[in-house]
Protein backbone atom coordinates (compact mmCIF):
# COMPACT_ATOMS: atom_id res chain seq x y z
CA UNK A 1 0.00 0.00 0.00
CA UNK A 2 1.09 3.56 -0.60
CA UNK A 3 -0.49 4.71 2.64
CA UNK A 4 2.76 5.56 4.41
CA UNK A 5 4.08 7.51 1.44
CA UNK A 6 0.82 9.40 1.09
CA UNK A 7 0.99 10.44 4.73
CA UNK A 8 4.59 11.55 4.32
CA UNK A 9 3.69 13.48 1.18
CA UNK A 10 1.09 15.37 3.19
CA UNK A 11 3.56 16.18 5.93
CA UNK A 12 6.16 17.40 3.44
CA UNK A 13 3.60 19.51 1.58
CA UNK A 14 2.50 21.04 4.87
CA UNK A 15 6.11 21.84 5.76
CA UNK A 16 6.98 23.21 2.32
CA UNK A 17 5.85 26.72 3.20
CA UNK A 18 7.65 29.29 5.38
CA UNK A 19 4.50 30.45 7.16
CA UNK A 20 3.52 26.92 8.08
CA UNK A 21 7.04 26.12 9.26
CA UNK A 22 6.88 29.31 11.30
CA UNK A 23 3.67 28.11 12.93
CA UNK A 24 5.27 24.74 13.73
CA UNK A 25 8.28 26.48 15.23
CA UNK A 26 6.08 28.76 17.30
CA UNK A 27 3.94 25.89 18.55
CA UNK A 28 7.11 24.08 19.57
CA UNK A 29 7.16 26.55 22.46
CA UNK A 30 3.67 25.54 23.54
CA UNK A 31 -0.02 25.73 22.55
CA UNK A 32 -1.09 29.15 21.26
CA UNK A 33 -4.42 30.69 20.32
CA UNK A 34 -5.13 31.27 16.64
CA UNK A 35 -5.44 35.00 17.33
CA UNK A 36 -2.04 35.28 19.00
CA UNK A 37 -0.46 33.18 16.25
CA UNK A 38 -2.02 35.21 13.45
CA UNK A 39 -0.63 38.45 14.84
CA UNK A 40 2.91 37.13 14.33
CA UNK A 41 2.43 36.66 10.59
CA UNK A 42 1.99 39.54 8.13
CA UNK A 43 -1.18 38.43 6.34
CA UNK A 44 -4.94 38.60 6.63
CA UNK A 45 -6.70 36.29 9.05
CA UNK A 46 -8.47 34.33 6.27
CA UNK A 47 -5.11 33.72 4.55
CA UNK A 48 -3.58 32.65 7.81
CA UNK A 49 -6.49 30.31 8.54
CA UNK A 50 -5.80 28.51 5.25
CA UNK A 51 -2.35 27.64 6.53
CA UNK A 52 -3.77 26.49 9.86
CA UNK A 53 -6.25 24.25 8.07
CA UNK A 54 -3.50 22.76 5.88
CA UNK A 55 -1.44 21.93 8.96
CA UNK A 56 -4.47 20.47 10.69
CA UNK A 57 -5.57 18.45 7.64
CA UNK A 58 -2.15 16.82 7.47
CA UNK A 59 -2.16 16.08 11.18
CA UNK A 60 0.78 18.30 12.10
CA UNK A 61 -1.33 20.33 14.51
CA UNK A 62 -4.72 19.99 16.11
CA UNK A 63 -6.99 22.78 17.23
CA UNK A 64 -9.12 22.87 20.34
CA UNK A 65 -11.93 25.36 20.93
CA UNK A 66 -12.38 26.57 24.48
CA UNK A 67 -15.21 29.09 24.73
CA UNK A 68 -14.51 31.65 22.03
CA UNK A 69 -10.81 30.91 21.76
CA UNK A 70 -9.41 28.35 19.31
CA UNK A 71 -6.01 27.05 20.41
CA UNK A 72 -3.46 25.28 18.19
CA UNK A 73 -1.38 22.40 19.56
CA UNK A 74 1.58 20.76 17.87
CA UNK A 75 1.21 17.06 17.07
CA UNK A 76 4.73 15.84 17.80
CA UNK A 77 4.05 12.24 16.77
CA UNK A 78 3.37 13.44 13.27
CA UNK A 79 6.61 15.38 13.06
CA UNK A 80 8.45 12.25 14.12
CA UNK A 81 7.48 10.80 10.73
CA UNK A 82 10.17 12.90 9.09
CA UNK A 83 12.43 13.40 12.08
CA UNK A 84 15.57 11.37 12.20
CA UNK A 85 17.94 9.22 10.30
CA UNK A 86 16.21 5.88 10.49
CA UNK A 87 12.87 7.42 9.53
CA UNK A 88 14.53 8.74 6.37
CA UNK A 89 15.82 5.27 5.52
CA UNK A 90 12.35 3.90 6.15
CA UNK A 91 10.87 6.49 3.82
CA UNK A 92 13.31 5.51 1.06
CA UNK A 93 12.46 1.81 1.39
CA UNK A 94 8.71 2.34 1.75
CA UNK A 95 8.67 4.46 -1.40
CA UNK A 96 10.91 2.01 -3.24
CA UNK A 97 8.55 -0.80 -2.29
CA UNK A 98 5.59 1.31 -3.42
CA UNK A 99 7.21 1.52 -6.87
CA UNK A 100 7.95 -2.21 -6.94
CA UNK A 101 4.36 -2.95 -5.98
CA UNK A 102 3.09 -0.56 -8.63
CA UNK A 103 5.24 -2.20 -11.31
CA UNK A 104 4.18 -5.76 -10.59
CA UNK A 105 0.48 -4.97 -10.16
CA UNK A 106 0.22 -2.71 -13.22
CA UNK A 107 -1.75 -4.61 -15.89
CA UNK A 108 0.07 -2.62 -18.59
CA UNK A 109 3.37 -4.19 -17.54
CA UNK A 110 4.28 -7.45 -19.17
CA UNK A 111 4.10 -10.24 -16.61
CA UNK A 112 6.62 -13.07 -16.79
Amino acid sequence: MAQYSAELDGVFVALADPTRRGVIRRLGRGPTSVGDLAREFPMTLPSFMKHVRTLEANGLIRTVKLGRVRTCVLNRDRLALVDGWLAEQRRIWEERTDRLEHLVTDPKEEQP
Binding site: E88, V104, T105, P112
Partner: protein, 158 residues
Protein backbone atom coordinates in the same frame (compact mmCIF):
# COMPACT_ATOMS: atom_id res chain seq x y z
CA UNK B 1 16.86 -6.78 14.95
CA UNK B 2 18.15 -3.63 16.63
CA UNK B 3 15.36 -1.03 16.73
CA UNK B 4 17.86 1.85 16.79
CA UNK B 5 19.62 0.71 13.63
CA UNK B 6 17.31 -1.58 11.71
CA UNK B 7 14.00 -1.34 9.99
CA UNK B 8 11.48 -3.86 8.80
CA UNK B 9 8.60 -3.57 6.42
CA UNK B 10 5.91 -5.97 5.31
CA UNK B 11 3.44 -5.79 2.43
CA UNK B 12 0.99 -8.04 0.73
CA UNK B 13 1.61 -7.41 -2.97
CA UNK B 14 -1.26 -8.42 -5.25
CA UNK B 15 0.90 -10.21 -7.78
CA UNK B 16 2.40 -13.68 -7.97
CA UNK B 17 5.78 -14.35 -6.41
CA UNK B 18 7.28 -14.93 -9.87
CA UNK B 19 6.33 -11.39 -10.91
CA UNK B 20 7.96 -9.87 -7.81
CA UNK B 21 11.01 -12.07 -8.30
CA UNK B 22 11.29 -10.93 -11.89
CA UNK B 23 11.14 -7.26 -10.80
CA UNK B 24 14.20 -7.97 -8.65
CA UNK B 25 16.13 -10.06 -11.18
CA UNK B 26 15.34 -8.72 -14.67
CA UNK B 27 17.48 -5.60 -15.24
CA UNK B 28 14.94 -3.89 -17.49
CA UNK B 29 12.26 -4.31 -14.80
CA UNK B 30 14.58 -3.53 -11.88
CA UNK B 31 15.50 -0.18 -13.47
CA UNK B 32 11.84 0.83 -13.45
CA UNK B 33 11.40 0.87 -9.68
CA UNK B 34 14.78 1.06 -7.99
CA UNK B 35 15.12 4.89 -8.05
CA UNK B 36 12.45 7.59 -7.84
CA UNK B 37 11.60 9.51 -11.01
CA UNK B 38 12.88 11.73 -12.52
CA UNK B 39 16.18 10.04 -11.62
CA UNK B 40 16.98 7.37 -14.21
CA UNK B 41 18.48 4.08 -13.03
CA UNK B 42 20.75 1.95 -15.20
CA UNK B 43 21.75 -1.56 -14.18
CA UNK B 44 25.38 -2.41 -14.91
CA UNK B 45 25.32 -5.80 -13.19
CA UNK B 46 22.46 -7.70 -11.65
CA UNK B 47 23.82 -11.16 -11.03
CA UNK B 48 21.23 -12.47 -8.60
CA UNK B 49 23.04 -15.43 -7.02
CA UNK B 50 25.04 -15.83 -3.84
CA UNK B 51 28.19 -13.76 -4.26
CA UNK B 52 26.87 -12.11 -7.42
CA UNK B 53 27.19 -8.43 -8.26
CA UNK B 54 24.63 -5.64 -7.90
CA UNK B 55 25.92 -2.51 -9.62
CA UNK B 56 23.71 0.41 -10.62
CA UNK B 57 24.24 3.92 -11.92
CA UNK B 58 21.91 6.88 -11.91
CA UNK B 59 21.30 9.97 -14.00
CA UNK B 60 19.32 13.16 -13.65
CA UNK B 61 19.12 13.78 -17.41
CA UNK B 62 19.33 10.25 -18.84
CA UNK B 63 22.62 11.16 -20.52
CA UNK B 64 25.31 11.48 -17.85
CA UNK B 65 25.33 8.54 -15.43
CA UNK B 66 27.13 8.47 -12.09
CA UNK B 67 27.72 5.51 -9.75
CA UNK B 68 24.86 4.67 -7.42
CA UNK B 69 25.34 1.25 -5.88
CA UNK B 70 28.21 -1.27 -5.91
CA UNK B 71 27.20 -4.25 -3.82
CA UNK B 72 27.18 -8.03 -3.54
CA UNK B 73 24.45 -10.55 -3.01
CA UNK B 74 25.14 -12.63 0.09
CA UNK B 75 22.35 -15.17 -0.15
CA UNK B 76 19.89 -15.88 -2.93
CA UNK B 77 17.21 -18.57 -2.65
CA UNK B 78 15.23 -18.76 -5.88
CA UNK B 79 11.77 -17.16 -5.51
CA UNK B 80 12.20 -17.00 -1.73
CA UNK B 81 14.98 -14.80 -0.48
CA UNK B 82 17.48 -12.14 -1.55
CA UNK B 83 20.13 -10.73 0.77
CA UNK B 84 22.59 -8.11 -0.41
CA UNK B 85 25.07 -5.79 1.23
CA UNK B 86 26.95 -2.67 0.19
CA UNK B 87 29.62 -3.36 2.85
CA UNK B 88 31.33 -5.62 0.28
CA UNK B 89 31.56 -4.27 -3.25
CA UNK B 90 30.92 -6.27 -6.42
CA UNK B 91 34.60 -7.37 -6.44
CA UNK B 92 34.17 -8.60 -2.84
CA UNK B 93 36.37 -5.79 -1.56
CA UNK B 94 35.39 -4.41 1.86
CA UNK B 95 33.81 -1.02 1.27
CA UNK B 96 32.90 2.14 3.14
CA UNK B 97 29.80 2.99 1.19
CA UNK B 98 27.95 6.26 1.34
CA UNK B 99 25.63 6.92 2.95
CA UNK B 100 26.02 3.98 5.34
CA UNK B 101 26.85 0.26 5.22
CA UNK B 102 23.78 -1.91 5.30
CA UNK B 103 22.45 -5.38 4.62
CA UNK B 104 19.01 -5.75 3.09
CA UNK B 105 17.09 -9.02 3.32
CA UNK B 106 13.97 -9.57 1.23
CA UNK B 107 11.77 -12.63 1.74
CA UNK B 108 8.88 -13.68 -0.48
CA UNK B 109 6.19 -16.19 0.44
CA UNK B 110 2.79 -17.09 -0.92
CA UNK B 111 -0.25 -15.24 0.34
CA UNK B 112 -3.90 -15.83 -0.62
CA UNK B 113 -3.91 -12.38 -2.26
CA UNK B 114 -0.51 -12.69 -3.94
CA UNK B 115 2.87 -12.33 -2.31
CA UNK B 116 3.80 -11.74 1.30
CA UNK B 117 6.76 -9.37 0.90
CA UNK B 118 8.99 -8.69 3.89
CA UNK B 119 12.19 -6.72 4.29
CA UNK B 120 14.71 -6.25 7.03
CA UNK B 121 17.36 -3.59 6.51
CA UNK B 122 20.24 -3.77 8.98
CA UNK B 123 22.44 -0.69 9.18
CA UNK B 124 26.03 -0.16 10.29
CA UNK B 125 27.20 0.93 13.70
CA UNK B 126 26.38 4.23 15.41
CA UNK B 127 29.82 5.68 14.56
CA UNK B 128 29.11 5.12 10.89
CA UNK B 129 25.73 6.71 11.41
CA UNK B 130 27.27 9.80 13.01
CA UNK B 131 29.73 10.14 10.13
CA UNK B 132 26.83 9.75 7.78
CA UNK B 133 25.05 12.69 9.38
CA UNK B 134 28.21 14.78 9.25
CA UNK B 135 28.37 14.14 5.53
CA UNK B 136 25.16 16.03 5.13
CA UNK B 137 22.82 13.17 4.56
CA UNK B 138 19.87 15.46 5.09
CA UNK B 139 20.74 17.84 2.28
CA UNK B 140 17.73 16.81 0.26
CA UNK B 141 15.33 17.87 2.96
CA UNK B 142 17.74 20.22 4.66
CA UNK B 143 15.44 23.12 5.31
CA UNK B 144 12.75 20.90 6.76
CA UNK B 145 15.18 19.13 9.04
CA UNK B 146 16.59 22.45 10.23
CA UNK B 147 13.10 23.54 11.15
CA UNK B 148 12.55 20.26 12.94
CA UNK B 149 15.78 20.71 14.86
CA UNK B 150 14.49 24.06 16.07
CA UNK B 151 11.28 22.40 17.20
CA UNK B 152 13.19 19.62 18.93
CA UNK B 153 15.40 22.13 20.73
CA UNK B 154 12.48 24.18 21.91
CA UNK B 155 10.88 20.95 23.06
CA UNK B 156 13.97 20.15 25.12
CA UNK B 157 13.81 23.56 26.81
CA UNK B 158 10.25 23.10 27.95
Amino acid sequence: MNPDLDLTLQRVIRAPRAAVWSAWTDPSRFEKWWLPAPTVCRVDRLDVRSGGALVTRMSDDGVVFVPHLDASFLVVDELERIVYTNAIDSAWRPANPAPVPMTAEVTLSDHPDGTDYRMTVRHGDPAARARHEELGFFEGVGSVIKQLAVVAESQAVR
